[in-house]
């Protein structure tokens, strides 16, 4: 294993959505800076939006929504546990980011007057902007990276951050998943933008890589931030999404909802008022799935043929383009049948829920010199546009830090320890294949952590994860590719333990299904109107409470419970059924 050492000013780990934006903005802030974008795959097609995106879920556009309204909506959708300043920083920058992306060549839907064609999906405000031609977005980003002269390295897998004597970040260590070479990258500032922990739960299909999130996003960043001593927050607020059964694509809310599609039960009746993804919505989805009216379906068969063709064009060319192939294989036609849906495996992702690395409104983590942006950074319900906005904020913050900060010395002991950990699986002649350890670990995650959460089960889960910790020292890799899988198992195990400990700590139920604790069924604002933080303290994974900062925007009394009343009541459901039950199934 050869070693390489290089020095930059700003190191960005993760070249998906937030990362390229951070790199461009750091370089624009100061073109003299050496900015390196480090990517595990290839920047051209990496991350959650490798095949584009079909819309913005949280566009705050003047005339349709205000930043204040948006902050209220997300505060309520996330059951009050938010740092409003971070959401406000997103909301205030949302529109200028859309305009900038528009200038860069990202195409958003516009009406005949040239205004953005906004759609209402959320419970209260109007924030959805379709991008029927959004498949090009990675290409647009790549062009900007080239223009800004950002350095890029592909196929480098970052494994640990380097910490200076004063506790600040000093760079990162990585290995090449093609050659196995070990890399030390010294930096004055590091931005983590490694995406969700998407390979945590096991999909119902049992296929390790059939996850909702891009499975390259194995939780590496959560693990790196944790071991660097950063606070993680809201980890117990899991990501769980409503998906097409057996296929990993979403279906309903943002694309089909505005065109008349909806989530229905087996009788074809609506049972939720609002398809915007939230824990409360997922709770109702789960209840219906488990009830005599289950399973749950996506209903489009009542729509006109041309509407369905429009939906197909969007869904089958963007984000998850193999969807059409999946339906064809099963003989499913949106015109003729409802499409069976199911809930996804669990994951950690602040882009969808709230589980992430704690950041303030400047994208600063609690570790000096370490920034986070995108799905990994705890800014609830931040989605793709939030990743861009926080990428920009992180890039500018990191660039500003470089001006007044000398390069920290590196600690050779950290480097030696990490090189030994990373090279371990390649040096062992005998041991456990990564795929088997991963399968068992993630099967245990399903067995013990998937909501509804039960105290005793999560305790057993923790004991199992501890046993698997010992198995990590027996992992073998035949080549650098398998080494990548082996090191990912380390990260997944860390995420499983984080998820269990944070969930056990919060002894109440909140966020609907995301943190539904059967033995603590009620929300308890007196004890638990706080953030739950997880941090490595003296080597131990430790949970503690962080108070919620005073709100800058107070939701009105009648708005607070809006997301608690998503279920359509019996009489209303019957009425809806007769209104819409026009198409034969």
């Amino acid at each position: 294993m050869q070693s390489h050492v290089q020095t930059v000013d700003v190191l960005i780990i993760g070249g998906g959505t937030a990362g390229p934006m951070a790199a461009v903005k750091a370089k624009e802030a100061n073109p003299e800076l050496r900015v390196l974008l480090l990517e595990k795959a290839n920047v051209k097609r990496s991350g959650a939006i490798s095949m584009g995106m079909d819309g913005l879920n949280n566009a705050v556009i003047p005339g349709h929504a205000t930043p204040e309204q948006y902050v209220k909506e997300i505060t309520i959708a996330n059951d009050g546990i938010v740092n409003q300043k971070t959401i406000m920083a997103y909301a205030r920058n949302s529109f200028s980011m859309i305009e900038e992306l528009d200038r860069w060549g990202v195409r958003f839907e516009k009406d005949e007057t040239g205004d953005y064609a906004m759609r209402k999906v959320h419970h209260m405000g109007t924030y959805v902007l379709p991008m029927p031609e959004g498949h090009d977005i990675k290409r647009v980003l790549y062009r900007r990276l080239k223009r800004a002269r950002v350095s890029i390295t592909n196929r480098l897998v970052a494994t640990r951050l380097l910490i200076a004597a004063d506790g600040s970040v000093a760079g990162a260590m990585a290995f090449d998943c093609r050659t196995g070479d070990f890399h030390v990258i010294r930096a004055k500032a590091v931005i983590l933008s490694t995406g969700a922990a998407g390979r945590l739960g096991l999909p119902a299909s049992g296929y390790l890589f059939g996850t909702y999130e891009n499975p390259t996003n194995a939780g590496d960043g959560y693990s790196m931030a944790y071991h660097a001593g950063a606070e993680l927050s809201g980890i117990e607020c899991f990501q769980i999404n409503p998906l097409i059964k057996d296929y990993n694509g979403p279906a309903c809310a943002y694309v089909t909802g505005p065109l008349g599609g909806y989530t229905a039960n087996s009788k074809g009746a609506r049972f939720i008022e609002c398809d915007y993804w939230s824990g409360q919505m997922m709770m109702e989805f789960y209840r219906e799935l488990q009830s005599g009216n289950g399973p749950v379906f996506l209903k489009l068969d009542h729509l006109a043929d041309e509407t369905i063709s429009t939906i197909e064009t969007i869904l089958h060319t963007n984000e998850r383009p193999s969807r059409g192939r999946f339906h064809k294989g099963r003989g499913t036609d949106y015109r003729k049948q409802m499409v069976e849906m199911h809930i996804s495996e669990i994951g950690l992702c602040s882009g969808h829920s709230a589980s992430g690395v704690w950041v303030n409104e400047h994208a600063e983590t609690t570790v000096e010199g370490l920034y986070a942006a995108g799905d990994l950074a705890c800014v609830p319900h931040n989605y793709m546009l939030g990743a861009f906005v926080y990428g920009k904020i992180a890039g500018e913050s990191a660039a500003a830090r470089c001006a007044g900060t000398p390069l920290a010395d590196i600690d050779e002991i950290q480097v030696e320890l990490e090189q030994a950990r990373v090279s371990g699986p390649l040096s062992r002649a005998d041991g456990l294949p990564p795929s088997q350890v991963e399968y068992k670990l993630r099967r245990m995650v399903n067995d013990y952590l998937q909501p509804p959460k039960v105290t005793r089960k999560m305790e057993i889960g923790l004991a199992r994860f501890e046993e698997i910790r010992a198995d990590l020292d027996r992992l073998i890799a035949r080549d650098p590719h398998e080494l990548m899988r082996a090191l990912e198992v380390h990260a997944i195990r860390d995420c499983a333990e984080l998820a269990a400990r944070a969930s056990l700590y919060r002894t109440e139920s909140r966020w609907g299904l995301y943190h539904n604790r059967v033995d603590y069924p009620d929300r308890d604002d007196r004890e638990w109107f706080v953030h739950v933080q997880v941090k490595k303290i003296n080597g131990a994974m430790t949970c503690f409470k962080r108070p919620v900062d005073p709100y800058i925007i107070n939701p009105d009394e009648h708005e607070i419970s809006a997301y608690q009343q998503l279920r359509i009541h019996e009489n209303a459901a019957v009425k809806t059924k007769t209104e819409t039950d026009v198409a034969p199934v």
Binding site: A41, R45, S46, M51, S205, T216, P321, R325, F326, G329
Partner: protein
């Protein structure tokens, strides 16, 4: 500990008549987020080496000759 080679059906198919890896092309290998494709140097053709597919399709979309087809993995079909 003894280990086994267990066979698995693979979702990515390469039409070797169309594949131009022998002319130096490696687009599908380059764009795969999971790095599961490789070039068989003896044949000069691309192939799927690891059964770790997200069926996301950059390999198929970006292939200049249309040699790559992504099927839904059998377990999900």
């Amino acid at each position: 500990m003894p280990t086994a080679f267990t066979s698995a059906s693979l979702p990515v198919r390469i039409n070797e008549d169309l594949c131009i890896a022998d002319k130096g092309c490696s687009v599908c290998v380059d764009v795969c987020p999971l790095d599961v494709l490789a070039i068989d140097l003896t044949k000069g053709k691309a192939y799927m080496k690891f059964d770790e597919c997200w069926y996301c399709m950059p390999c198929e979309k970006d292939c200049p000759t249309g040699a790559v087809t992504v099927d839904i993995p059998y377990l999900l079909r």
